[in-house]
């Protein structure tokens, strides 16, 4: 039976809003920690793009796979990753989800199907295609979603991935989160044509959506993923969104001039995905007080996770040498 993806239920909307809040609260905290000199490296914040990852991952289970980008905190949390384990990782602690070995650009949790954030732009394309092939071989209706940006859409491996995924009818959802910037280069300067059109020659269905509207993302992604689970082959989903923070929190320290106008940022802040989710919840009849309860709950959760992460022990340098191979002791 086909699900009705016309409108998410109030319960679904609220769950997605809560997940978006988890991302926002976590990243506001991480940004502040970086500016206070408390993190060893800069962080690439997903703030402003939360609806894209959350609306899509709402349709995925732990059995499905995702690959993510250098801006990967949001995808990690959207896919059900543990905020404490991620915050501890970014604080470079032993309790981190990768034991302090990966850090902000490599958060991964295989038990939740999160194959990792990736510091190589477009690095997830091959991995997700391989995971989609694995999903097809498994034959259990699993899918792989590959999150990448409009910058990565200019890597040749996107064409290669579309070619293989279409030929082999792989359950691969290519999610291009179009935030208008390839690091510090405007998309218009870097990208010819419309990224959506790139799927057409491969016979891959492609859709675009307002990536700041979690309800709209949820609807379109739901249809595409359901088709995929029924042996429908790959799809390309273009979510139009914007990072209202910098490429990396450290950028103010090294950029000699600004690369975008305050008006541009403000125009997107006016379309903030969390505010819009609140408006959607209000349309369903949810009272403001009920929404505030969720906000408080999330704030308490993240505050506690952050305090615990700060107090966690450092990783043991003696482990480094043993971490390159899983079977190093075998020879």
């Amino acid at each position: 039976m086909r699900n009705d993806y016309q409108n998410p239920s109030q319960e679904t909307l609220l769950a997605m809003y809560e997940r978006m809040l988890v991302i926002r609260e976590t990243e506001e905290y991480l940004g502040a920690q970086f500016r206070a000199g408390e993190l060893p490296a800069g962080v690439h914040l997903y703030i402003g793009q939360e609806a894209s990852g959350v609306g899509i991952c709402a349709h995925l289970s732990d059995e499905d796979w995702i690959t993510s980008t250098h801006r990967g905190h949001g995808h990690f949390l959207a896919k059900g990753g543990d905020p404490y384990a991620m915050i501890a990782e970014i604080h470079a602690k032993a309790d981190g989800v990768c034991g302090g070995f990966g850090g902000t650009m490599h958060v991964a949790d295989l038990s939740r199907g999160i194959l990792g954030a990736n510091g190589i732009v477009g690095g997830g394309l091959g991995i997700a295609t391989g995971a989609a092939f694995a999903a097809k071989l498994d034959g259990k209706g699993k899918v792989a979603a590959c999150f990448f940006g409009d910058g990565a859409a200019n890597q040749g491996t996107l064409m290669e991935a579309m070619n293989v995924a279409s030929l082999w009818k792989l359950p691969l959802l290519l999610v291009c989160e179009h935030n208008g910037w390839s690091e510090f280069t405007r998309s218009e300067v870097a990208t010819s044509g419309n990224i959506l059109d790139r799927a057409q020659p491969f016979g891959i269905p492609a859709q675009e959506v307002d990536g700041n509207d979690v309800g709209a993302v949820w609807r379109v992604a739901g249809e595409m993923i359901e088709a995929m689970r029924n042996d429908g082959g790959p799809g390309l989903l273009l979510t139009h969104t914007y990072r209202t923070r910098g490429h990396v929190e450290a950028e103010i320290n090294f950029l000699s001039q600004s690369y975008r106008s305050e008006e541009e940022v403000a125009s997107w802040e006016a379309r903030d995905p969390l505010d819009r989710a609140v408006a959607l919840l209000a349309e369903t009849g949810m009272a403001t007080e009920e929404i505030l309860v969720v906000r408080e709950r999330v704030k308490t959760l993240i505050d506690a996770a952050a305090a615990r992460a700060q107090a966690a022990p450092d990783p043991d340098p003696a482990l480094v040498k043993s971490m390159m191979f899983s079977e190093v002791d075998a020879w």
Binding site: F101, G116, I120, G123, A135, V164
Partner: protein
């Protein structure tokens, strides 16, 4: 013992391992028709899900191997000629070799990437490379370079059974040589060098196809009263330093034969190990017989002028044992 050609021994290993473990998937360019013969017959036997031709898109294929492995399968990726590994190098260098550490040990990557390599057949600069020094430097990838049919079978089996990525380099178009392959279950451990010939005067560490040249050289040297010991490392990562050092302790001289370009070659690394851990054992400088820092020219006469030969090994050894500065 059975006499098998090198490439047949790999083919035997593939049949046996794919039969044993249904999660092994073979994919790559022309694996169905099998240019070298190593993957011959597998498609018919195991079907299209497990043996699959791919488009020519190495940059994606190496990444796919990572994704397949992370998702619970055991991919074997055939890249045909080792030069094509450069096209797929990003995912090898940035993903495959790093993800185990980056994920704090969560991601096991049982991947075997195989290709033919090396010169000597006028395949010219873009089909003759010897890229293992690059892989040795990555850190998270085992590197197997068998020198004979028996080891090819045993090392391949170890590679596909390992939960870590391995590069398996075979002599490609040079794979027709016959060799003894032990009957039954035959595994060769990684990191265990073989002593191919015992001798008292000089240690020759020879890698892959260079073992045959070293053997020819050793016979010629014996005629001159010089007894060479030949060590075949079999894997470069992990490298059996102890066997090499024990041999130097006996012979006190070391020559390394490697068909990589000289600069930062596997020979350079082995020489560094000898200088670091075996300095007091040596009574002569460590010498390397390698390809000079040029890419492989096409004309046979040009290729022969730079490719290692038994004559070069002999003259290098003779210069060492006569205590002259070697060539």
């Amino acid at each position: 013992m059975a006499k098998r050609r090198f490439i047949q021994a790999i083919n035997d290993a593939m049949f046996e391992e794919m039969e044993r473990d249904p999660r092994i998937i073979l994919f790559g360019e022309d694996v169905e028709i099998s240019m070298f013969g190593d993957t011959k017959g597998l498609r018919d036997h195991f079907g299209p899900d497990r043996v699959r031709d791919t488009p020519i898109c190495e940059a994606l294929l190496t990444g796919m191997a990572v994704g397949m492995a992370a998702a619970g399968w055991r991919p074997v990726l055939h890249m045909m000629f080792s030069n094509f590994m450069y096209t797929g190098f990003d995912a090898i260098a940035n993903q495959m070799s790093k993800l185990h550490l980056m994920t704090g040990g969560q991601m096991k990557l049982p991947i075997t990437v195989m290709a033919g390599f090396g010169g000597g057949r006028s395949t010219a600069a873009q089909h003759s490379d010897c890229p293992y020094p690059l892989f040795m430097n990555l850190g998270g990838i085992n590197v197997a370079v068998p020198s004979n049919a028996g080891d090819a079978k045993g090392l391949f089996k170890t590679a596909v059974r390992s939960n870590d990525p391995a590069i398996f380099l075979e002599p490609g178009g040079r794979g027709g040589e016959l060799g003894e392959v032990p009957d039954g279950e035959h595994l060769v451990s990684f990191g265990k060098a073989a002593i191919r010939r015992e001798g008292r005067d000089v240690t020759i560490v020879a890698i892959g196809a260079m073992v045959k040249l070293a053997d020819q050289a050793a016979k010629a040297l014996a005629a001159n009263g010089v007894e060479a010991e030949i060590i075949d490392p079999r894997t470069l990562v992990p490298l059996d330093e102890e066997t090499i050092l024990a041999s130097i302790a006996k012979t006190r001289r070391l020559v390394i034969v490697d068909e990589a370009r000289d600069r930062c070659s596997a020979a350079s690394q082995i020489a560094a190990v000898a200088a670091d851990r075996g300095f007091g054992l040596l009574k002569a400088p460590v010498k390397r017989v390698t390809v000079p820092n040029v890419c492989m020219p096409y004309a046979p006469v040009l290729e022969r002028s730079v490719y290692p030969s038994s004559e070069r090994i002999v003259s290098t050894v003779l210069a060492l044992v006569s205590n002259q500065e070697a060539i």
